[in-house]
């Protein structure tokens, strides 16, 4: 059984069918790029994986554990636990403006560690000293993660003091802090000035080298070709074509993919 198995995921908004049955699998350590025109369902698919949308049909299984089944109603607590299998990096970063780069990473990490410790020890209100210890540990972990994305000196700055590229690298570090099984990127460079995309793509390449399992929705065709093990082309709410980068980019079979690639490389 594959590490991630998505079966027949469907999603409608009112009358509009955005996902018409997505079947998708990937292995641990694999990097998948999803390409396709706007409105093809790429972002909705990522949002379904991260429980930001609830699919109308289908199942999602990670490492043999069925984390979503449209036939089952989940409580908020269950959803919260299951969604942590995935991490999501947004197009618009969505850093918390009132926290420094370090606190953006440390705060959510601290909350989850405190929750886990509470549950383990059965103590609902952790003592102050213990909370403090957890906070310090989370800050240290945040500093390490910032170092890995090349932002060690920016730890104490607020989002508005950082460039777009730096914000996105903080957002990546923040998503990694919770050690998701699969890290998703929703057009991570689309909101950036062209000269800032390189630093973000470099970080994603480093993550690949470190063996992270990733799904990347992107418009950067060159990047998709070089970073992905597997490329998925989505159009009209289905996976129209998929394969190795060479198959997709050099030998597209479907008419839709050919038209898409032609348009993308026109400029």
């Amino acid at each position: 059984m594959a590490f991630l198995e998505v079966k027949n995921i469907q999603k409608s908004f009112g009358e509009t069918k955005v996902l018409r049955g997505i079947d998708f699998t990937m292995e641990r350590g694999e990097v998948v790029a999803i390409i396709g025109s706007s409105g093809g369902g790429k972002t909705t698919f990522l949002r379904c994986l991260n429980f930001l949308e609830t699919p109308n049909g289908g199942t999602i299984t990670v490492d043999g554990d069925e984390i979503f089944n449209a036939a089952v109603t989940y409580t908020d607590a269950e959803t919260r636990e299951k969604r942590l299998r995935f991490g999501l990096v947004f197009q618009s970063f969505n850093l918390f403006p009132q926290y420094t780069a370090r606190e953006n990473i440390a705060m959510p990490l601290y909350l989850r560690r405190a929750e886990a410790l509470s549950r383990e020890t059965g103590v609902r209100r952790l003592p102050r000293a213990q909370k403090h210890e957890l906070q310090e540990a989370a800050r240290a972990a945040a500093d390490d993660l910032l170092k890995n994305v090349g932002l060690a000196e920016k730890a104490g700055l607020y989002p508005h003091q950082l460039s777009g590229g730096q914000c996105q690298r903080v957002a990546i570090a923040r998503a990694l802090a919770l050690s998701p099984d699969i890290l998703c990127f929703d057009e991570p460079t689309s909101a950036l000035d062209p000269e800032l995309t390189g630093e973000v793509l470099r970080v994603i390449r480093d993550l690949r080298r470190d063996g992270h399992t990733m799904i990347i929705v992107t418009h950067e065709m060159e990047f998709a070709r070089s970073v992905a093990d597997h490329v998925v082309f989505m159009a009209g709410g289905i996976i129209e074509e998929e394969g190795t980068p060479a198959e997709i980019f050099d030998h597209p079979t479907s008419e839709a993919l050919r038209a898409f690639l032609h348009k993308e490389t026109e400029f």
């Binding site: 429980f51 930001l52 919260r80 636990e81 991490g87 947004f90 969505n94 909350l111 508005h160």
Partner: protein, 215 residues
Amino acid sequence: MSLFWEVTLALLEGFGTTCSIFGLTLVLALPLGLLISFGTMSKLAPVKAVFKTIVWIIRGVPLMLQIFVVFYVPGFVFGVPIASRFMAAIIAFVINYACYFSEIYRAGIEAIPFGQTEAGRVLGMTKGEIFFRVTLLQVVKRIIPPMGNEIITLVKDTALARVIMVVEIIKVAEKFTARAMIWPLFYTAVFYLIFVGVLTILFGKAEKKLSYFKV
């Protein structure tokens, strides 16, 4: 000189009542307004409709009339007169200001990009954690200027309590007109101006304190 002190002391006493109305209204209406704003943003259509209607009525009727209603209706209609004039004034002020505050809260909350909530969700945060650790401070930053405005209006609206004979500063000053003295009435402006001046400085400080980040 002794007359001036007599007037000043009398006005100060009235001003004490003014400050009590102001303080109590603020302390009670700020949290109540937040609850009402949640009501007006409810996903349940009937709940939303009820709260929207309440806000419409309260904002659509003069505050003076609301004070009369709170003061007279319990006695005339239900046969249970309200315990005190002061309490009637407080109830009317709290309800009225809570509705105005609720609209300020709503505007502040709705202005926060939904991406902030979504980021909290994908990081495994609970609804409470997202509200208190992500949304709240951003809302506070956004609403300080309109809140400041509304709270300064409240300082002066307290004068309306005199319509049911609550003896606040203007009421005290009016009593002097019976002794053919009009200047105490104008003198009350000094008290209001000092109070509003202090509030203006405090709001400026709060704004500055939250200027370390941008929303």
